[in-house]
């Protein structure tokens, strides 16, 4: 019984739904903290995932919607073995973050720009990043090794 219950818990998907408002970043971090605590994830993994999802979410909210309507951004978290598989789904304008060029980090302060830095963080924080446009939605897949 105990084993079954444990297996059930591990397969369970966790869903976080956020409104398209930057004030939701706090709820995102609290939800991830709670998820990490419940699943006993290393703090480093949770922090990395928090930064990646923060940057993706901020990007969607800031540039994804041409209207001023309410939208939901849906995040799914699933632990599979030693991997954390995450999807982020939004119904905003098509946007493939993998097409954003990497920023030039080797320039002096005066010439530094911050454009593209957020997406660069996403790439650095996860082990795999994949994008699909599916049924009018942007779906981003992230894979993070749990170490």
């Amino acid at each position: 019984m105990a084993l079954e219950r444990m297996a059930g818990t591990l397969d369970e998907e966790t869903r976080i739904e956020l409104k398209n408002s930057l004030s939701e970043l706090e709820r995102l971090s609290l939800a991830l903290e709670e998820f990490g605590d419940r699943r006993c994830l290393p703090l480093k993994t949770v922090m990395d995932v928090n930064l990646a999802l923060d940057e993706i979410f901020t990007n969607i909210v800031s540039y994804g919607f041409p209207d001023s309507d309410d939208h939901l951004i849906k995040i799914n978290l699933l632990i599979e073995g030693k991997e954390l598989n995450i999807t982020v789904e939004d119904d905003g304008m098509p946007f493939n973050p993998l097409e954003i060029p990497e920023p030039d980090l080797n320039v002096p302060l005066e010439e530094r720009k911050t454009g593209g830095l957020g997406i660069y963080f996403v790439r650095k924080m996860v082990d795999e990043l994949r994008y699909e446009r599916r049924q009018g939605k942007n779906v981003l897949f992230l894979k993070k090794k749990i170490i």
């Binding site: 930057l22 004030s23 939701e24 970043l25 706090e26 971090s29 480093k44 922090m47 928090n50 930064l51 923060d54 940057e55 901020t58 909210v61 800031s62 980090l105 080797n106 002096p108 302060l109 005066e110 530094r112 911050t114 830095l117 957020g118 660069y120 963080f121 650095k124």
Partner: protein, 110 residues
């Protein structure tokens, strides 16, 4: 995020407490812009109680550093926690900002 402001000689010290992300980076941006507008150009940002920073926070720090440098001043950072430091490293910001272990050490730069 809470910002506590103090002044030591010509140096403005901003003590940041909490998380710095896109939901509140505008508050820090306004604070720094107002101070720069009032002629201040020497800054220490004390990160001792800052738990988190995203690219939105880095953008504000870069903007202020450029303006402070342009005015002949300086912006130094102190007491970065490990994962905050890591974000700076990844962004290549460790190389372009003076970063000190303590705010006292940072004060020695001015």
């Amino acid at each position: 995020m809470k910002i506590k402001e103090s002044k030591s000689g010509a140096v403005i010290i901003l003590d940041l407490n909490g998380r710095l992300d896109a939901s509140n980076s505008g508050v820090l941006e306004k604070k720094l812009t107002d101070l720069l507008g009032a002629g201040e150009k020497y800054f220490i940002l004390d990160f001792d109680r800052l738990d988190y920073i995203s690219s939105a926070g880095l953008r504000v720090l870069l903007m202020a550093a450029k303006k402070a440098n342009g005015a002949g001043g300086k912006e130094a950072l102190s007491s970065l926690k490990e994962h905050v430091r890591e974000v700076f490293d990844i962004a290549g910001f460790t190389a372009i900002f003076p970063i000190c272990s303590t705010s006292e050490e940072a004060a020695g730069l001015f």
